[in-house]
Symmetry: D2
Subunit: 331 residues, 4 copies
């Protein structure tokens, strides 16, 4: 019979709510504690999931808690990872590990010392379409990979207050795409070049950030990757990847709500892309939790590791540095 | 606070298992009893869903059972509907209501007498794409509807033993499409013409049935509907509808597992259609249960009624009669 | 060195103009005479193509004329075919051969007697997409063909005066689809069933014709074909064929002017189908002329024969008879 | 009545043959002379087009020649442009103007001095799909343009001997995409960054060139453009453009030979992209000749100018310099 693994959830916002629902519905998991500085949000979420509201200390002290799920704001990630590791808990942490590479490395050292499992929430690796891309690449369907093109656009720009705390587009948004690039290239990028502009929302420019960016990665063996990000997109959450290789192309397109198409004098109209990550990556969030629970059971699991988190942060930092300096950055 | 409605499930086969899982996961439902002549299947399903194995009498006698879900073989539907109605239970019954129209009418009379809710499991009405077709038609997006074309193909032919008990392609398979036609035309067909052949599996022909069929429906106002069915399809479960009207076309295409596409010298290849109804109509089965539970709560719900079941059976019978006689049948 | 085959063109209307331009541009053809009761139209077309305006007798008497191209109104076809044959000219005639089957047979007898080439202008056989369908079927790509579905919709209804002279939807419009069915099924239909309505233009109904129709064909071996026709279509000239067989599906979709797609909040919009036959079948008209000129040179050529014209007319007549009588017609 | 403009064609290779056929078929043009160092090629082409073989001096001395069409090898462009201009001929020259910017500028000075028309053969501007993109951008359909993504891949790598003379991927191949970027951005790029590798054919690397490249352009106002080129593509000639803006996306996809699709267990397969430029840009070559002939008649015409040729060359040179130096180049 299955043991249900006990979880404490940190963060009762949008992503915390997804994880709470997925934990509540999972046969192998029990959500025990919800921790959030916003007591109302914590209380409401705990109630709907049969969990209780706790503070960090209480949640970490509970021996029934096997794992913590960190979905709180970025600036709390490092402290929670370290505290969780020291309490001997397995850790699932939303990206990014940290905004600061030294801090990230220190956290990983604590995790290594404690010998606990740490998985990063690079949810896109668990999207059924991108997983299939990965498997097809591995199976050689595209031949040797030469160029990867990643398009990633959010539906609407974040509020200025969020931008200020976000670490900037590269660490906050493109970090997902940088992780996809590493994962699909199966080789580390050796140089990063970034260009970016504030074309969408002047407030983003005023905050010192960009809302539109293009990045070029090159690996040691000369493989190339293009990434483009925009903070606003009229036709939904634009999430596409193309992998070009010696034998052809593999690509994953956007996902519509349904396959319904209408036709009239203006032409044939299919539905826009799903609105945002909650919809597009619903299956991905379930799949990543499945994999994490496999790992808790000691079974082989495909997870993004703490080191994956550190590497993606290095790339994001290099992209920011390239944008600031105007030249490519060698890693 | 929500009351959880208690259910007894009849039939632990493929469709019974879908409903059991959906009942188990639903916040407003509790699966209490599983009834099946195959004790093993019943036991296994009951165990995974926290229900108990019962016989019909015990299940219907349990006052905690508010509703029965009939997913057992077609020849048991009539008796279970009548017994459930007489026990005062709400009834959700898989199609068809009956293979015999007199029997169907007698069942409806018992249900009417008992004043209980009866919903038919025309699952396609709850598919997100077909629901959207329905709403768009109602909103006038295609203008006045003139011609509907329904393509419906199973991936592999059923075993001969199943064919013998099935009532034939029209009552067993096309009945779904006939219901879709009625639902989307929003007008009753007045004539039915059918042609069919056993082109796929000679055993189906030997059993007196067809595996390939084409039907034409015409309504009193002259609107037309084409339906084609095949009992085998190389590219998955082919489920498509096109609605042609004065303002243009609305159509729902097949659903692939993912949007991944590969390209090589042979061209651009998208994934085949989802394999069969379990995958294609997973959301539809959840949605129809949602609607049934709404109705149990007394909320407005969109359900296929017993009368819808009777009308679809009339059309299926007429199609069979047309096939047998070679001439169109007027209803 | 190539001999240029001399042509006389009968009919300076829309289709005559296409043929005139294709003849003028063809390395192996010379357009010598244009004959039309409308002297202006004939004069204008002759001028742009370097031909002269003639009457029928003069055109047929010219020994430099090797072939006649009959693109005049349907009621003139029989007389021109017979006169052309008796003058020893090869004949390319637009569909239909005749509106009357006895007349058609008499014309074919004259042609046979004269021993001249007669080709019917079933232009769709020469469309690159439909030709590829044909070749792929022949190559077994779909396996044994079981069901063919043909969708054919004109952009706008013809004027009432045209309808009155047209012979009705089946002989005027669906005859093309009936020919496609014969060609792609590679087996003669044995029964024809038709339903139709005047849903689009009441004037068409007043003229005793239908503007919306569905036909079912069945061959002796039980293969089925569905055809639907509409006389008005909001999204262009809808010309699609699906061929379903043991190994899968082959289909030819509509052709847009370009591949441009736009995306916004309403979704992803591709261009409508090309407006009408002039655009959609531009290549087909060139290809059929090529084949006719091959035949004139004595080379193997793929042409629709007079017999193909007669067979298609038989099917169209049967469809009309089925519509009128309400029952399927056995051929 | 139309005056037919007399042409001398320089170069009887693949592109020269396209232009020869288009000139021969055009109502407003007469091809008088074909000039090529390969006498056989010149003779054969001249024969099929009713022209005569000439040398440069004779062709330019012929007062019946109003325009020259330069489709000979790149190293001859400058001399022919200058000689043509000095002879008072209008000039249509294939890209690139020159491999050397000083040479290009000197040629433009001669043309300006002579006051003759010079048009560059940036054929993609005349492709129906890209023209529609251009018009839709101008009409504001995508809103303010923010990011353009251009994918351009040749089917097979050129022979090493060609690579050596070609000026390199940026001047030989990407120059088309750089022109498209300028044309669609409607603003000059201010910086160019390039990365490239020889991943496809080691002989290309040995020749000091790359076969796979990615370029980022940024305009003064911060708009971005990504371009990727590959010298080999398994699925045909990959020619796609995406324009992302405030109101959504406009894109032009590849063009298949037909719309035929087949489906089987492996999924739904559409045709590959047309094989190469002869097929993909057949209409573009006709359209650009039309525009050039309009200009010869003094009518308003949309042409790529000598200055467009110079600007594209500047961008290609900057891309090469960026590749060589590893840093972005400011223009």
């Amino acid at each position: 019979m299955n043991v249900k693994h006990g979880f404490a959830l940190f963060g009762a916002g949008r992503i915390g709510q997804i994880h709470a629902r997925n934990l509540a519905a999972h046969a192998d998991a029990r959500l025990l504690h919800v921790v959030d500085v916003a007591a109302d949000a914590a209380g409401q979420l705990a109630a709907t999931c049969g969990a209780r509201v706790s503070d960090t200390a209480a949640a970490l002290a509970d021996p029934a808690v096997h794992a913590i799920l960190v979905a709180s704001s970025t600036d709390t990630h490092a402290a929670l990872i370290r505290a969780g590791a020291q309490a001997g808990k397995a850790i699932f942490c939303e990206k990014p590990l940290d905004l600061d590479i030294a801090g990230a490395q220190a956290s990983l050292a604590v995790v290594a010392q404690a010998g606990v499992l740490l998985a990063l929430g690079f949810n896109r690796r668990f999207d059924p379409a991108f997983r299939r891309l990965y498997r097809e690449i591995a199976a050689g369907r595209a031949g040797k990979v030469e160029v990867i093109s990643i398009t990633s656009r959010d539906p609407t720009p974040p509020p200025p207050a969020y931008v200020a705390r976000s670490g900037g587009l590269f660490r906050d948004m493109m970090i997902h795409d940088l992780d996809m690039a590493r994962w699909l290239l199966a080789e580390e990028p050796a140089t990063v070049f970034a260009r970016g502009s504030a074309l969408i929302d002047p407030a983003i420019g005023d905050a010192g950030d960009v809302d539109t960016a293009v990045v070029v990665l090159e690996t040691a063996s000369g493989r190339l990757c293009q990434i483009t990000n925009s903070r606003r997109c009229a036709y939904g959450y634009d999430q596409r990847i193309e992998v070009f290789g010696a034998k052809g192309l593999l690509r994953a397109d956007n996902v519509p709500a349904t396959t319904v198409e209408s036709a009239g004098a203006e032409g044939f109209t299919r539905e826009p892309a799903l609105p945002f990550f909650l919809e597009r990556y619903a299956a991905a969030y379930r799949n990543e939790l499945d994999e994490f629970l496999k790992a808790l059971r000691g079974a082989p699991a495909q997870l993004a590791s703490g080191e994956d988190g550190r590497r993606a942060l290095l790339l994001a930092n290099a992209a920011q540095e390239s944008l600031d300096s105007g030249v490519p950055i060698r890693l």
